[in-house]
């Protein structure tokens, strides 16, 4: 019984805090993405052929911890199968934040384009199914600065 109450409290707290943090983060992501539109990031491996550029490796990295609510729902979902929508937002946020940080780094260096952008995602919570996932998203690419 005691355990049930603990779980209920954690799930409720996780839901409210997690949801608040997520809303805030999405709002900030959309705003910053709009600002950073001036510096496009491309997955293309072919650099522009119209001039000479300085090149730098730029990268952005973010670590996001899951809240108890999301972990709980995902645990239940594991039982039935199907899309784990509570994790979708988590990974979407992580990738976009990582890309933004990479772009911000490129912007500071005075670049005008990042090409050959790649993503890596890893779970750094360690082994063991009991641990709530902690996700690392890493975006990196080659920034180009016109000479």
């Amino acid at each position: 019984m005691e355990q049930l109450i603990f779980v209920a409290v954690f799930v409720t707290l996780g839901y409210f805090f997690g949801r608040r943090a997520e809303k805030k983060h999405f709002k900030s992501l959309i705003e910053r993405e709009e600002q950073m539109n001036k510096l496009p990031a491309m997955a293309s491996r072919m650099p522009p052929q119209d001039g000479e550029y300085d090149q730098f490796l730029v990268s952005g990295n973010v670590v996001i911890a899951n809240d108890y609510f999301k972990t709980f729902v995902a645990g239940l979902r594991n039982f039935f199968g199907g899309k784990i929508s509570t994790y979708e937002s988590l990974l979407d946020r992580a990738r976009r934040e990582a890309l933004l940080r990479m772009k911000e780094e490129a912007d500071k260096l005075g670049a005008e384009l990042v090409f050959n952008v790649k993503y890596e995602t890893s779970n750094i919570s360690g082994q063991g199914s009991k641990k709530p996932p902690i996700i690392e998203a890493h975006a990196y690419g080659t920034a180009l600065k016109k000479l």
């Binding site: 522009p48 999301k70 729902v73 239940l76 039935f80 509570t86 979708e88 384009l113």
Partner: protein, 278 residues
Amino acid sequence: MEYQNPKLPENNVSKEHPIKEFSTLLIGTLVLVVVVSITLSLAGSWLAGLIPYSAEKKVASLYNVATHSDNERYPKIAAYLQELADKISIAQELPPEMKITVHYMDSPTLNAFATLGGNVFMFRGLLEELPNENTLVTLLGHEIAHVKYRHPIKSFGGGIAVAIAMTTIGSSADTTLLGDAGLLSTLQFSRKMESQSDLEAMHNLQSIYGHLNGGAELFRIFREARGPENESESNKLNQFFSTHPQDEKRINSFNETALNKGWSEAGELTPLPDFFTF
């Protein structure tokens, strides 16, 4: 060449509200757990019922049950209880290999129970409440009937099936179920099992004393011990989930059985022997 990152539609995240997903999954899981547990418990108990009594006895003999009883310190009481149990065993027509062993426990707990291998435990706390031998025979007859109908092993079988399933899907199960503590703790019998044993106890009263007087007294003792609040209307839910049929119903079942079978509910009560004081 023009490079740009236009504003993209927000379509990477499902629009479904997380609470909706949460409640659907939670309800689904609960229903699944309940259905699976009930099925496993029934299947396990059915399978366990097929285990021959000799095998059950072998398992029970692995635990040194006698070390937990106070029979040696109270030989007179133990002998008296055993004598009654043997008498009841004959009345119940137990097969010869189903030997009942009564264990007297010098403890204030208001309880008595039957477990694997025909071991029946009687606690001082309950025995000192009993007014006469008829009530004692009702109690012993009820517990012995559990053994007769293989209720302990069926209950174990059901419990073990559920425990194995729980351990398999990863949640922690009560592993003590399989240990020493499991054998000596009170087993949970279903309401059906309890009613079946009650009826058997009534048959014992009729065949030993020729009437049912004193039998219902046992459940009056339980009712009193539970306190008046349990009998109130507000506690319907509690009664629903409790495995023992409500005390009032059990008291009434003595009347009903007496009426149906044409047995008497009045008759001389046999006093308990003098040494049966605590």
